[in-house]
């Protein structure tokens, strides 16, 4: 569960703007989604091998070239599907606990 959500957040971050791993880490840590940074790397590689992400090397002013990740067309579709089911889940959960909060 947590893992699928993490993947969704990674994809959402990249969908906003192409990102290199350290950017993604900063965002995820800011929203308390990442316990250890190492979690990100196998996920990125897996998403890339699944054709959801691809990357390009870009020169950096402050060090060696960086890998910038983008969403592929398939990735955009995949993220949409994830967001749809996430919103449905949030809606259902909210509906089912609504009464509890009121009482």
């Amino acid at each position: 569960m947590r893992k699928g959500v993490l993947e969704m957040c990674i994809l959402a971050t990249i969908a906003e703007q192409r990102a290199y791993p350290s950017d993604i880490i900063k965002k995820l840590e800011a929203s308390n989604l990442l316990v250890v940074q190492g979690t990100l790397y196998p996920l990125l590689t897996r998403l890339k091998n699944a054709g959801i992400l691809h990357y390009t090397w870009e020169e950096s002013t402050s060090g060696p070239p960086r890998k910038y990740y983008h969403l592929t067309e398939e990735g955009k579709q995949f993220l949409n599907d994830l967001l749809t089911s996430w919103n449905q889940l949030v809606h259902s959960v909210n509906e089912s606990i609504k009464n509890l909060e009121q009482s």
């Binding site: 947590r2 791993p21 350290s22 940074q37 190492g38 590689t45 897996r46 060090g63 060696p64």
Partner: protein
Amino acid sequence: MNKTIDINLGGLPFTIDDDAYEKLDRYLNSLEDYFGDSEGCKEIVADIEDRIAELFKERLKKRRIVNLKDVNSIIDMMGRPEQFEDGTETAYRSTARRPLDIKTGKRLFRDPDDKIVGGVCAGLSAYIGIEDPVWMRLVFGLLFFGAGIGVIPYIILWIVMPEAKTSGDKLAMRGETANVSNIAKTVEEEMQNLGKQISKFGKGFKRKN
């Protein structure tokens, strides 16, 4: 005084204390072991190395040498490989995490467990991938009785093919990769065989008396 080592990490040069180097090296090796030979293992480890290099650079600022404290704190940030998965089952764990794999291709051995004469036919069958060595025996039998030459290749093979003695040999004979669970399986089979042999032996012994 501390010995230092010059390293290239993620394309950046660092000078690192000897003890810190050892620790970092162990950590990186543990990552390689964890991701095993999964597709993208090298890539994951290289990406993590890039990140560690970046973190070192941020931490060092004007200092020149990476010390053990830096390495420890970075390992805490990156996390041990076991922490990467949040405790959830993943594809990596089930298909790729085999740190104790020993690469062994399929090899030709005589099979001492399933032999009639020297185990040559059984070994050949295992090598080719036929379940039942009876077909191989039939071929050799026909060669022997039909053309009268079957015995010579058999003896040559008997001499050339080593006997599968260890559990690792037996796995290599069947073309399985030797890892801990496979070896356990083979050892278990062997224990059962041994049990059978003992009971056979026991029966023979009783008959003799």
